[in-house]
Point group: C3
Chain length 345, copies 3
Amino acid sequence: MNQRSDRFTCSEIADRVGGTLNGQPNIRLAGIKTLERAGPGELSFLVSTRYLEQFRNTNADAVLVSTQLSSTIINSPTTLISVADVRTALREALDLFSQQPTSCWGIDRTARLGTGVSWEGRISIGAFAKLGSNVILGRDCVINDGAVIEANATIGDECYVGSNAYVGSSTKVGNRVVIKPGARIGTSGYGYTQTDDGHIRMPHLGRCILGDDVEIGSNSTVDRGSVDDTIVGPGTKVDNLVQIAHNVRIGQRCLIMSQVGLAGSTIVEDDVSIAGQAGLAGHLTIGKRARLAAQAGVIGDIPAGQTVSGYPARAHREVLRQAAALRRLTPLVSTLEKIVEKNGP
Amino acid sequence: MNQRSDRFTCSEIADRVGGTLNGQPNIRLAGIKTLERAGPGELSFLVSTRYLEQFRNTNADAVLVSTQLSSTIINSPTTLISVADVRTALREALDLFSQQPTSCWGIDRTARLGTGVSWEGRISIGAFAKLGSNVILGRDCVINDGAVIEANATIGDECYVGSNAYVGSSTKVGNRVVIKPGARIGTSGYGYTQTDDGHIRMPHLGRCILGDDVEIGSNSTVDRGSVDDTIVGPGTKVDNLVQIAHNVRIGQRCLIMSQVGLAGSTIVEDDVSIAGQAGLAGHLTIGKRARLAAQAGVIGDIPAGQTVSGYPARAHREVLRQAAALRRLTPLVSTLEKIVEKNGP
Amino acid sequence: MNQRSDRFTCSEIADRVGGTLNGQPNIRLAGIKTLERAGPGELSFLVSTRYLEQFRNTNADAVLVSTQLSSTIINSPTTLISVADVRTALREALDLFSQQPTSCWGIDRTARLGTGVSWEGRISIGAFAKLGSNVILGRDCVINDGAVIEANATIGDECYVGSNAYVGSSTKVGNRVVIKPGARIGTSGYGYTQTDDGHIRMPHLGRCILGDDVEIGSNSTVDRGSVDDTIVGPGTKVDNLVQIAHNVRIGQRCLIMSQVGLAGSTIVEDDVSIAGQAGLAGHLTIGKRARLAAQAGVIGDIPAGQTVSGYPARAHREVLRQAAALRRLTPLVSTLEKIVEKNGP
């Protein structure tokens, strides 16, 4: 996607993002850049007070800013467009300036389609893509170069399967799902039984089910279920390099950030947020709206709404208290040892 | 793999898994589901007391249960099949119900084979697969769509190379090895020397060697050796998104779970278990049967048989003792500070 | 790459690596192996005192050793070649023995090139590679089997794009860049705004820019910028399975080891070293020459030159002091509790 050449006045942009303009309404803007890099004729945005210095020095002709923050700004060097939520306004402004790539509808002559593959409306299938027999696609799907979709998978409307991504047999994908390049969906999981002959693989008869509006990041892996299905609920967004093991069930609208790992059969309820590199043991339940901090190592159930961090993960407030306590105790150790010696055990 | 339509009586299943039947021997079962989802005419399984409530409410017509657990169950709501190990019995039952996909033997017309590629017996090579010159395969191998095997690699009997996986030149793969989609085997490693002109790459002349019955998970990476070879020993199972660096040597029957990282030249002896997201520094030795907990950060050698956790990884028992101590000391900090002040340094 | 059959005398090798020979100058050597595996007619190397026992027992006919270490060795069992830096000498010796694979210049008949693709001098494009329209390549580039390079990407001289790797549209790649198999460069990032309709994706209009001599490891992911570009500076080496999020800016000559994760908009200055599995939150600045230990969890800015570890990452020296303090306090807890009880709160 590139920025296109149309221009909009500050006032038109304020209208579009539902903001209040304070400054020059008629300057024409041609694009969006960061505070540091924007120049005359460009829009910028201030997402946090962390960037106030860059704001003071910006050459942008207008800046998106939160209503809350804008009230504290005196003598703004530039036109301000005040909005309730800067990120939402930024998204809307980016949409305004962005030039959607025109999808190349049609099937590349090198693509290989098995018997019984079907779709509705328009379709785009890239070079060297391979669809197994009886793959069913909805309307307006884009399957990129080198993607492999195995037999009997069903995929909804307006889905995107990235380059060299993999969708295993019998996987069930909802509408508007994005599977980024190199993601592996519905592969056989890591399940073995130990015998005298070594570890013997468990058959994996379950499927992988992705709900509507799910996104799976680049090179992430989602194993199929062994007996039950592996499920990622509607609206859940999964970042790059995430591991979701067999039989995991994730609810709706969860955010699962990069390099998170979920072991087998763990249940994540709705609206949970899991920050980067956190790891969850198997067979756990993470309650609704729980928040797991980056690198948290979760080895027990987490109640709804709780924020946890550390290893083993526990209430974040407790982690902070313990860290502060250790910091204060560290310089006292020698004296405490002497006192203990004096007082006897 | 899907479940097939055959039916077996409870008594036939008990015979197959070597279990003791307590209930209705003649009910016919048509499939396996979890306790929550199984209905009449279906088998289920109870793997832990954690699921006792679901067991009490199940609609399954029969349940696999451990002999130990079954002795504690009074008034079972369903027929019980008691076995020594539920997971082994479950695997055997799944094998009974699973319908092996008939492999499509033959070479897709789009596959590209270099000069001197050879194999024995049957072979399946998928669409857009590329085999370099002098690749040698055993019998009954399956190379899936888009896989790349570089020149002079040798691969044993009954191996599986998944979609878009990569096997580097001169890699040596044993029998019955599974390389899942997107795994990268025998790539050049991360080795540099620092010079005035920046970091200069070390040549990687070693190979990557996978023993019999090795499995490598989706999107995992195993670098080739720089001077020596990188070795994964027979029967070792590697999960998804694992990093195995150059010159690492892993013994037999190890379990290496998802997102584990092993830095260069580290030696892992036989029967070691490394849980998810654990990381090992380079040039270490991990003794036989050692167990590394999830997220353990290992920066020194680990003796045989030891269980370690935390960062830096140390005996798990000691980690627990220290965590408990800190928990008890935290509310005492202010008083301890006063006592120290009174007693002087 | 394989070792070739040429032979060099110890004296020739000492000359090549700028070392001082102590022993037999005229023995001919045919290859390099580790101390354990080298035999007569082979060169080996001693990188650390850790391997002194293997050195004492080696059958190698000559060993590269640091000048510092060689001065402590009495009665060497083999010819010594003393050098300032063993790893640099090893690299030079490996170069001497290694046989560069002759690149197959030319374009495989199955490759798909869009309109306007251009290059200079020689080029190698593998089977099933796909280059979108207006991709511009410099001279002597190698694009391996199944790689996908999207429209309008520009790639410099002597670059390597590995098998099944992905380079997104409008990505800008410098000279001598190595992108290993399965790496995903310039994919759309993980950016959403929360609305009543769930999380809505931010458009990603920025590019991904890789400087000269950058290397990106297998299956690593580098997202494109949302507004600004994502930048990896010249000479920076990125290992396997690393995540670099949108708008991250990395300076020159950094070392980013396996499974590291960098969240959005974080700035890493020149010559920073980040060890395996470390994680960095978004919007941080890591100062020049800072060193982040393995598994460090960084949630605040790090000053130039500092070495940090732990979660939350802090000065490594402080981490060690606190760990030692906790170790000493742990056996005293019960006594300290009694003392506090006696002294009152």
